[in-house]
Symmetry: C2
Subunit: 223 residues, 2 copies
Amino acid sequence: MQDLKHLSLQSNIGHHFNDANLLHKALRHKSMGGESNERLEFLGDAILNYTVAEMLFQRFPSLSEGDLSRIRAAIVCHESLVKVASRIGIADFLEVDQTHRVEKSKDSILSDALEAVFAAVQLDAGHDVAKKVILHHMEILLSRGEVPLGKDSKTALQEHLQARGIPVPIYSVLSQGEPGARTFEVQCDVPMLRIRMTGKGPNRKMAEKDAAAKVLKKCVASL
Amino acid sequence: MQDLKHLSLQSNIGHHFNDANLLHKALRHKSMGGESNERLEFLGDAILNYTVAEMLFQRFPSLSEGDLSRIRAAIVCHESLVKVASRIGIADFLEVDQTHRVEKSKDSILSDALEAVFAAVQLDAGHDVAKKVILHHMEILLSRGEVPLGKDSKTALQEHLQARGIPVPIYSVLSQGEPGARTFEVQCDVPMLRIRMTGKGPNRKMAEKDAAAKVLKKCVASL
């Protein structure tokens, strides 16, 4: 039964292990004692950063180093990794000491285990396979717009446009919702690029940030 | 003449480029305008971190994640990269705007260019060649004992020993030099490991740190 469960996990990861022990080790939290996934996490973190950097470098030949760094940071950030780990369903397979079980869903344990899994894939089948697996999951994140492009997307968008000599975006409030249940709808318009997106939020500022993030994503996607 | 000079640089790097433009681009500081080495530096930094992480992971199967991280940080730190860049002689080939020429020897320009060179090697000949080049230069650093193992090697050594249940080292002053021209010589002894090294410094504390660094290096090398 355990093995069947692990097969479904391997399907979700997108790699069937020759050496299932590697996967088991990647899922073993240090609270269990013995050989945990910490060393694998160290390796996986480096593999992940390198793989995403290389992908961005190749895919966006006209992006500056600053933009590449910002997008990479958003893709490999803790928050993004937790989303991937959750989609794969890693939490159900983690080996955590009973006394730490309350921590099992803790985000850092999940993202650490995901990095360890990436390292395990590489040790099991080589870098090309690990790269394919990593990029597959990162593509899903990107295509679903789940990558948080920096904490302040308004600033990021403005910098991005200024670096290209494009005038700053124009924000305008479309609606404010009902009093008592306010939901602001804001439009962010970059006329020169003919990009106009709508953002929502519980206040004007957050709606603007939401809209700016969508415009920035469009800008990056159209490069 | 310029080409002959570049040939000697390529010899020092340990790779002869199929596409010499890649090397030129790696040496072009942003002060020159146009396409500089900044994007290559972004990629090279990721390649370097990954390559060193993988090397340490494979070479030291019993080191903890914490020790791996500490040693990696020491190997890829700014100070180490400047040493490698200087040995290769990168400064003589940098393209820097005349008005920035005073900066030419600035450390950050050198270490950035070195990372860009590593990326250029990878783009020119693939990751296996870049890995070989990177590890070659890092090996030289390590073998010459030029890797600064943390700012306080006494603390690092103590942590390293404590994690393994080994009693703390014993320090003893061997000599203090002449008054007016003091050079302290201190011995650091770890009886359980039968490791005993002598350090020198202008004061007792620095001599102790020097000795501790040597013992730590022995400990790591014998793992």
